[in-house]
């Protein structure tokens, strides 16, 4: 069966204004709205569109995270994923651990395509897709803004790079990571939320997959960023230019 595996992560919603705990031990997440990482929603949307075009038979969503992450898996199922795999783990999950867990799922499910977000908007690491591709010894096409599946063996991917747009051809299976403009994820309708409750959700553990939850980077200290001084209002273009000249900028 032609399968696509989509990785998702539970993150603080992108609209939440983050606060650092006064003791520097982390950011405040109690009572804060949590969501599917926006780039991962784009990954899922792309997988669903490929399936709807007849390019895949099944879309599986997978995550590595705490028990609460089941809420995000249910959202993904409501969006249209066929089933969900939850590798339950608490505490810090480094990209290498997430990728090792995903690789175990890849070996089990044999997808022809793995689609992930290019980065999670909480830790902004931007690593898991590349690390998975490395461990799997398969192609990676990061920052995708266009994805075409060409037959059974290759995909053509347009990537958003610093210079502009780059096009690569990769053999399948491959890992794709999504950029913002790949697609616009669909809204979930109420009946789909009801239907999602009946879809299969399998819970696994890192230990059962044979993956050690190693932490190689200790999170030593969290701080708020330095604040910029609030500036002044100018009344018109002439005053703006005068101020910039006074400051030696023009």
């Amino acid at each position: 069966m032609k399968r696509i595996l989509v990785g998702i992560k539970r993150v603080v919603d992108f609209n939440v204004r983050i606060r650092v705990r006064p003791d520097g031990s982390g950011v405040v997440t109690d009572g804060v709205k949590m969501s599917v990482n926006p780039f991962d929603e784009i990954a899922l949307e792309e997988a669903l569109r490929i399936k709807e075009r007849g390019g895949a038979a099944e879309v599986i969503v997978a995550t590595v995270g705490p028990a609460d992450t089941q809420q995000q898996l249910r959202s993904a199922l409501a969006m249209g994923a066929d089933r969900a795999l939850h590798v339950q783990a608490d505490g810090v999950i480094e990209p290498l651990v997430a990728a090792r867990a995903l690789l175990k799922l890849v070996e089990r499910e044999q997808p022809f395509l793995v689609i992930l977000g290019k980065q999670a908007i909480d830790d902004d690491n931007g690593q898991t897709g590349q690390v998975l591709a490395a461990l799997w010894n398969r192609p990676q096409a990061t920052y995708a803004s266009r994805l075409e599946i060409l037959g059974d063996t290759t995909a053509r991917v347009t990537r958003e790079v610093d210079a502009g747009l780059e096009t690569l051809e990769v053999d399948l299976p491959a890992v794709i990571t999504t950029d913002l403009r790949l697609n616009e994820p669909r809204y979930v309708k109420l009946p789909d939320i009801m239907k999602a409750k009946k879809k299969p959700l399998e819970t696994l553990t890192l230990a059962a997959l044979g993956v050690e939850q190693r932490q190689q980077l200790k999170l030593a200290r969290f701080e708020p960023p330095p604040q910029r001084q609030k500036g002044i209002r100018v009344k018109d273009a002439a005053e703006l230019v005068a101020q910039l000249k006074k400051k030696g900028i023009l």
Binding site: V12, F14, I18, V27, E94, P95, L96, A99, G126, Q127, G129, Q130, L132, A134, R138, P139, Q140, A141, T142, Y143, S145, R156, E160, V161, D162, A163, G164, L165, E166, T167, L168, E169, V170, D171, D179, L180, R181, Q216, K218, L219, R221, F222, E223, P224, P225, R228, Q229, G231, I232, R233, V234, K235, D236, A237, A238, L240, V241, L244, I249, L250
Partner: protein
């Protein structure tokens, strides 16, 4: 003594300034020995430029026709083959470096510190998280090799004047053929590069159209500035993707940043908070961009920008 391997970014003929910024970052490690790896089809010219960067100990030049285009899957095994004796392997936090270094980290089984903005010790690094709304200090486990990407806005480019020896290195590693370069399309421009420009004029959705953006190009040319855009403007098709400034676009630190018709979503502010001076021009006086602007001007941009152009011309 830290031994740092820096992966050079280049276009086959010219060394990207991102490499000089990585050198500055690595020099924050006291007494570090700095080696730059240049993997190219014909690395001669780029290696010569790398050898001139101040503080560089030596340059390794790896020639292979497979390196004609920078493909992470092809470059990563070569970097891994070179990485053995090094304590740190750094690349720039550009799309080139972000794509490549994490693959290198994966092959090495090493931790990666993304977007290094400061180095406190050979094992302690500062980096932004949550779109720059928090700064995290991470400490690497003793003895592990650390892979890192260097946040461009946090480090000045290292100067020249060096004359490091260049060693040609022949690597016998198997390179994959599963990833092939097809093309790259980049708008040709005479304007400064957005990532390194001293002045940047950026536009948001309020410009209304690609046509509307023309008044910004005109002002930018008077100022000798690069032109950027908010995500909203890029999504709307007013500007190409390579102009996007913000958390998921380019993170820049110009002397002067002029935000025109940009409301200032936190994801955008992440990309500009290291700018020396921020000017905001917006018709909505309540827009969040004014909270970070050194100079704010409330009004109609289509009236203000042409006036501004005349005044600076």
């Amino acid at each position: 003594m830290p031994r740092v391997l820096i992966v050079a970014e280049h276009d086959g003929g010219r060394l990207n300034v991102s490499t000089a910024r990585c050198v500055s970052c690595a020099r924050a490690l006291n007494d570090a020995e700095l080696t730059i790896a240049v993997c190219a089809a014909d690395p001669g010219a780029v290696a010569a430029q790398a050898a001139q960067l101040a503080g560089v100990t030596r340059v390794l030049a790896v020639a292979n026709p497979a390196n004609t285009h920078a493909l992470a899957a092809v470059l990563a095994p070569q970097i891994v083959a070179l990485a053995g004796p090094f304590t740190h392997v750094l690349g720039p936090s550009t799309t080139f470096g972000k794509d490549l270094m994490a693959r290198v980290a994966g092959l090495l089984g090493a931790p990666q510190v993304s977007d290094i903005m400061g180095i406190e010790s050979p094992s302690r690094f500062r980096r932004p998280i949550y779109a720059g709304n928090a700064i995290l200090t991470v400490e690497a486990e003793a003895g592990v090799k650390v892979v890192g990407t260097v946040r461009m806005a946090s480090f000045e480019a290292a100067g020249g004047g060096g004359s490091a020896p260049i060693e040609k290195v022949a690597l016998s590693v198997e390179l994959p053929a599963h990833t092939r370069f097809i093309s790259v399309s980049a708008a040709k421009t005479d304007r400064p590069d957005l990532l390194t420009a001293a002045r940047v004029v950026s536009g948001g959705r309020a410009l209304g159209s690609a046509e509307g953006f023309k008044i910004l190009y005109s002002l930018a040319d008077k100022l000798g500035a690069a032109v950027g855009a908010s995500r909203a403007a890029v999504d709307a098709g007013y500007a190409p993707n390579e102009m996007q400034v913000g958390q998921t676009g380019k993170i820049i630190a110009p002397e002067l940043y002029v935000a025109v018709g940009i409301s200032g979503a936190i994801q955008h502010l992440t990309g500009i908070k290291d700018a020396r001076t921020i000017v905001a021009i917006n018709k909505d006086g309540e827009a969040p961009i004014f909270e970070v602007a050194d100079f704010g001007l409330v009004g109609d941009l289509f009236q203000i920008i042409p006036e501004l152009e005349k005044l600076v011309g």
